[in-house]
């Protein structure tokens, strides 16, 4: 049985590798640049995506009146004695802890945006064709990064909305 599963997994991985190779072979260089930008920025954003996703789930569970798992939140929130905090405060500290990563991520995106725009503004004096293709490759990286940024932005908004609602909920119940 284990052997069968291993063989099936092997076949699946081989098929995926084949699909990936065939897919990239059919792509234009600009589309490959898009895939490159998307994967690099997704990698940069992974901490934010998982963080905001878990925070949104945590806050949503707390809003629904369930008792969410505090262990991850207590690890993420940078505050002494997090175990003494309420759920809303814990979520707020967790949200604040993700802020530096979000700033660094948006900064990288802003730098990429500035460089892309700068290549669009320079004159193609020495070699027009190389300029066009080079500039377009950078533009492809930029569009790929934009898709990752949209994902991060949406999750950050969602996590913020749930955290604020949780805080408002806590304030109402205290009073």
């Amino acid at each position: 049985m284990r052997l069968l599963v291993a063989v099936l997994w092997g076949v699946l991985i081989a098929l995926a590798a084949w699909g990936l190779a065939a897919g990239t072979a059919l792509l234009t260089p600009q589309e490959l640049a898009f895939v490159l930008g998307l994967s690099v920025f997704m990698l940069l954003a992974s901490r934010l995506i998982w963080g905001y996703g878990a925070l949104a789930a945590f806050a949503q569970a707390a809003l629904a009146g369930e008792e969410p798992d505090r262990s991850r939140a207590e690890n993420e929130a940078r505050v002494p004695e997090p175990e003494r905090l309420g759920l809303a405060a814990l979520a707020s500290f967790w949200l604040a802890a993700l802020e530096p990563y979000r700033y660094a991520f948006y900064a990288a995106y802003a730098v990429l945006f500035a460089i892309t725009l700068a290549t669009k503004l320079t004159l193609p004096l020495p070699n027009a064709w190389a300029w066009i293709t080079g500039s377009l490759l950078l533009e492809g990286v930029f569009w790929g990064a934009s898709a990752a940024v949209l994902t991060v932005w949406a999750l950050a908004q969602l996590a913020t909305v749930f955290t604020i609602r949780l805080a408002a909920h806590a304030v109402e119940h205290e009073s």
Partner: protein, 185 residues
């Protein structure tokens, strides 16, 4: 419940959807443009490998310079070298000039890719003016970068009344002497 100024989950979802649609539109057109560019480049590379074949689009008799001027079009993507010219003159009923032939006078012209050039073929020096009914068979030899062979282009020009006055005659309006005759066995 206290109303939050940070909106709610539904508005975040709607905004994300709108932005995702815009981004998808931009990425899709970027990808489609890159594909179109790649297709044009591939077509150009393909066409650049096809040997060019010159086409005579029009001809005229230049009375002052005593020459036959052919408009030669190079429809290919590589240059053509016109090496030399030959001319066979066959007098019509109104002509007082005897038949003659000029062979292999050097031309040394280059017709660039996708361009047209006026090629001046000198008639026999001190010959009489062309009259309606005369026939000139002009042959231009040429080479192209893909072969060391010498190719020949022959254009038969029948002098009409208009052509005798020096008017340019486009190829389709010329008398059909260039069309191949049906072979009789």
């Amino acid at each position: 419940m206290m109303k939050s100024r940070h909106g709610n989950a539904a508005s975040v979802l709607v905004w994300t959807l709108v932005l995702a649609l815009l981004l998808g539109f931009a990425v899709g057109s970027f990808s489609a443009a890159s594909r179109a560019r790649a297709a044009v480049k591939a077509a150009e590379e393909l066409a650049a490998g096809i040997p060019p074949s010159p086409v005579v689009t029009a001809a005229r008799y230049d009375k002052a310079n005593r020459s036959l001027v052919l408009r030669v079009l190079n429809p290919g993507l590589v240059p053509l070298q016109l090496v030399n010219q030959s001319l066979v003159f066959k007098p019509g009923a109104q002509s007082e000039e005897a038949a003659y032939a000029l062979a292999a006078l050097p031309l040394g012209l280059e017709v660039g890719p996708l361009s047209e050039l006026e090629v001046r073929l000198k008639l026999k020096p001190e010959s009489r003016e062309l009259a309606a009914g005369d026939v000139l068979a002009a042959t231009v030899t040429y080479t192209h970068p893909f072969s060391k062979d010498l190719y020949a282009l022959t254009h038969v020009f029948e002098v009409t009344k208009a052509a005798a006055k020096g008017q340019e005659v486009p190829e389709p309006e010329q008398p059909g002497l260039n069309a191949p005759k049906k072979e009789v066995k």
